[in-house]
């Protein structure tokens, strides 16, 4: 058994590229937040507590639009609906008898990226891993938001470009090795790339926010693969 401290450190290490990407993206969120009337302290608090990119962007813009709190809640639920799917996937890996505290702790650290690296680890998801990654990544998100609000200008464009691909590189490091080992995962990944590219261009679908496109594509493609290539019991054990 690895000690919890060691698992935390692994999470922290894996959270560093996430933090770099967050930092770059948070700048532009901060610039938008400034325009919507948020100060640096408010932006920092919003980011460290919410840590949801698209959801926060919509929350900030609704504030400027004088939306009601009910509208805020409804749109936050819609924008972040994918977190429910991610929570289900993580809980599916936790055996009966897992404490509620552990389940909640694992759920609490969910972001698109932290979910990605948590689910990629074999075995039962550890809250220490997720929290380690959270500690490396989310403060960068909050600091980036704050600095974006204060300076009102983005980082130099070439730095933003370079940093923003850190997150995608990390995603590739998560999905490519299993895709290489398992033909059906490989096929699912290839189909996902193709469908996602198409969906970003097809009229009607492309107008959906990218968060909603992500959840729709995930539902359809995963369901299709569950039908054409169902897993037998042993598959999930060997992961």
């Amino acid at each position: 058994m690895k000690s919890n401290t060691r698992i935390f450190r692994e999470g922290f290490r894996d959270g560093i590229p996430i933090g770099l990407g967050y930092f770059a993206v948070a700048f532009s969120l901060g610039i938008a937040a400034h325009g919507y009337g948020f100060g640096p302290v408010q932006g920092f608090i919003a980011s460290i507590l919410t840590y949801a990119s698209a959801g926060q962007y919509i929350g900030f813009s609704l504030y400027a639009a004088n939306a009601t709190l009910i509208q805020l809640i409804v749109l936050t639920v819609i924008t972040n609906a994918r977190y429910i799917l991610m929570g289900v996937t993580l809980n599916q890996r936790m055996p009966a008898g897992t404490s509620l505290g552990r389940r909640i702790a694992v759920g609490t650290t969910i972001t698109d990226e932290i979910f990605g690296i948590t689910i990629a680890r074999p075995g039962i998801p550890s809250p220490y891993y997720g929290f380690g990654a959270w500690c490396a990544a989310v403060p960068m998100w909050a600091i980036g938001t704050s600095i974006g609000i204060i300076t009102g200008t983005a980082l130099p464009a070439e730095i933003v470009s370079a940093l923003s691909v850190a997150i995608f590189g990390m995603f590739l490091a998560v999905i490519v090795p299993p895709a290489r080992k398992d033909r059906m995962i490989g096929a699912a990944v290839a189909v996902s790339f193709a469908c996602s590219y198409a969906a970003a261009r097809i009229p009607l679908v492309s107008v959906l926010s990218s968060g909603n496109r992500t959840i729709l594509l995930t539902l359809f493609i995963s369901a299709a693969f569950a039908i054409i290539a169902p897993r037998t019991g042993t598959d999930s054990d060997e992961k």
Binding site: I73, I175, P178, R231
Partner: protein
């Protein structure tokens, strides 16, 4: 007029609602779902979600789509060859940084 306090209440509600979305499954699920379709479905979810989020976003996030596409290719090759997470992320960043100096 809205007070200073209101913006903090607003932020708190946004954060709390988001947090609820993260933990609702944790509150509801007591054990893994046994249904074979659901199991198979959830087996594919992480790979599909991450793949969908990666492409084409990676080519849209850079100034030059060519640099993004090169980072995409470099990342796949590096991960295929077994480079670890931080390494793949660094390779993608460096690819974009260097290419954008020229493109």
């Amino acid at each position: 007029m809205r007070s200073e306090l209101y913006i903090y209440i607003y932020i708190f509600i946004m954060a709390f609602t988001t947090w609820c979305m993260r933990v609702i499954p944790s509150l509801v699920m007591k054990k893994p779902i046994e249904n074979r379709f659901v199991q198979s479905f959830l087996y594919y979810v992480p790979y599909v979600t991450l793949a969908v989020m990666t492409f084409p976003a990676i080519i849209e996030s850079t100034q030059s789509p060519v640099a993004g596409a090169a980072a995409f290719a470099a990342g796949i090759i590096a991960a295929w060859l077994g480079v670890k997470l931080l390494g793949v992320a660094a390779i993608c960043c460096i690819t974009v940084f260097i290419l954008e100096l020229f493109v």
